[in-house]
């Protein structure tokens, strides 16, 4: 509930806010949901599981060719070895970008997404415009994310209709020879692992760091 003294300046709670509040208190009152269990679920996906997990896998694969081989061959096991296991990551597949082939992931029927390595999907991934357009016009969708690919590059859009969960292994950016795994990790955005963007260039990272300073 909004604070009482703010009441005059706040919009009344919307229908959905009231409906969800009513549902929660009903379920707790009826003993169908344990309040601490509910908090655990929310905390897990808000704070513990996220795209840093996937970035770890990608940077490690760029850095260590043996690991890359394992990651492509048996992604579920390779991710589990680093502790990334659980719901919506039971059956992982990693699809590798090459100079001639770019991969992109969608779920046109709902919102399937590899939670264990990317966390919960962003709002746009679940939106009707993305789900409808990315299979039929991937290049115009990529342009909305500022990503331009040469005409010769084959675009493969993976529509995750089953319980297989797809993670894109982006191309390692040029100019990163000799970088450590931790340095490489900074280049791996969530969007590059969905495939709507490329991994960041070293120059982009410098700009960001300067921006923070």
């Amino acid at each position: 509930m909004p604070n009482d003294h703010d009441q005059d300046h706040t919009e009344p709670p919307s229908d959905i806010v009231l409906k969800v509040k009513a549902l929660e208190s009903l379920l707790v009152e009826k003993g169908l949901v344990n309040a601490a269990a509910l908090d655990e679920i929310i905390e897990t996906y808000e704070h513990k599981v996220g795209p840093r997990n996937g970035a770890h896998l990608v940077a490690k694969a760029w850095h260590d060719s043996d690991f890359k081989e394992k990651l492509l061959e048996n992604p579920t096991e390779a991710a589990a070895a680093l502790g990334y296991v659980g719901r919506q990551g039971e059956h992982l597949r990693v699809v590798e970008n090459t100079p001639s082939q770019h991969n992109l992931v969608v779920c046109t029927l709902c919102s399937c997404y590899p939670w264990t390595v990317l966390g919960l999907p962003p709002a746009w991934y679940k939106s009707a415009p993305y789900r409808s357009r990315v299979v039929s016009e991937p290049r115009s969708v990529l342009r909305e994310f500022g990503t331009e690919l040469e005409n010769e590059v084959v675009i493969r859009v993976w529509d995750s209709t089953s319980e297989m969960r797809y993670l894109v292994l982006p191309l390692r950016p040029a100019g990163t020879d000799g970088w450590t795994e931790a340095q490489l990790q900074q280049l791996v955005s969530r969007n590059s692992m969905i495939g709507v963007e490329l991994a960041k260039s070293p120059a982009e990272i410098n700009q960001t760091n300067q921006g923070i300073e």
Partner: protein
């Protein structure tokens, strides 16, 4: 069913306008956080499976499905399941006030249970007695599947010819799972050219989509 959720290839839905990755929060408001948690928590009561949960969101008027925000559809889905399974009544849903007790022959997960459930997940891979009908490289045509039930074969690939790219092994078949039955079928990633799916002048774009064996016929 080809409801409002079956969106692949639909036109006129506008631009994506993605939020910047650095600025987007996991949840955009408190109620989203709560309905997300409530959906997972009640799912753990074991009264329905993931396909029943998807089907509950799909069974809406297409206009409602499209007008609702993502988590509003989650609310619609979970409240429908709770009522249908007799865990709450329609009147309780509307009032938010408990009017009848539920006979509790099931366990309500605690915080510790939740940790275990989330980290173990729910694998769908199954050992099947029968081998796969198709091999990698085979050409297959997707069946027309105009059904009222739940199915995971999107309209945009129905009737089209693709090529088997990967055999994923046996997996729980959603069309049966939605009826509460655990029945496995071979699952394949099937590759379609953009030319086959959309327009003859598309050169390089492909769609790869996971499809279960009953959705496919040989087209060699």
């Amino acid at each position: 069913m080809q409801g409002g959720h079956d969106l692949g290839g639909k036109q006129g839905l506008g631009p994506i306008n993605p939020e910047s990755e650095a600025e987007e929060p996991v949840f955009h408001s408190e109620w989203e956080r709560r309905i997300f948690g409530l959906t997972l928590a009640t799912g753990m009561l074991g009264k329905w499976n993931i396909d029943q949960s998807r089907y509950a969101r799909e069974r809406q008027h297409p206009i409602s499905y499209l007008e609702n925000s993502y988590y509003e559809n989650w609310y619609e889905g979970v409240s429908k399941l709770l009522v249908e399974k007799g865990l709450i009544s329609e009147a309780e849903l509307l009032s938010g006030i408990s009017q009848q007790t539920v006979s509790r022959e099931f366990h309500v997960p605690t915080r510790e249970d939740v940790k275990k459930i989330l980290s173990s997940g729910g694998p769908t891979e199954m050992r099947l007695d029968v081998g796969p009908v198709f091999c990698v490289g085979d050409h297959v045509r997707v069946i027309r599947n105009f059904t009222h039930g739940h199915s995971r074969v999107p309209a945009y690939v129905q009737g089209c010819v693709g090529k088997i790219e990967i055999h994923h092994g046996g997996h729980i078949f959603p069309d049966k799972s939605v009826e509460g039955l655990v029945s496995g079928e071979h699952l394949y990633a099937v590759r379609f050219s953009g030319k086959e799916l959309w327009r003859s002048d598309i050169r390089n774009d492909e769609v790869i989509i996971d499809l279960w064996e009953p959705y496919l016929r040989s087209s060699n």
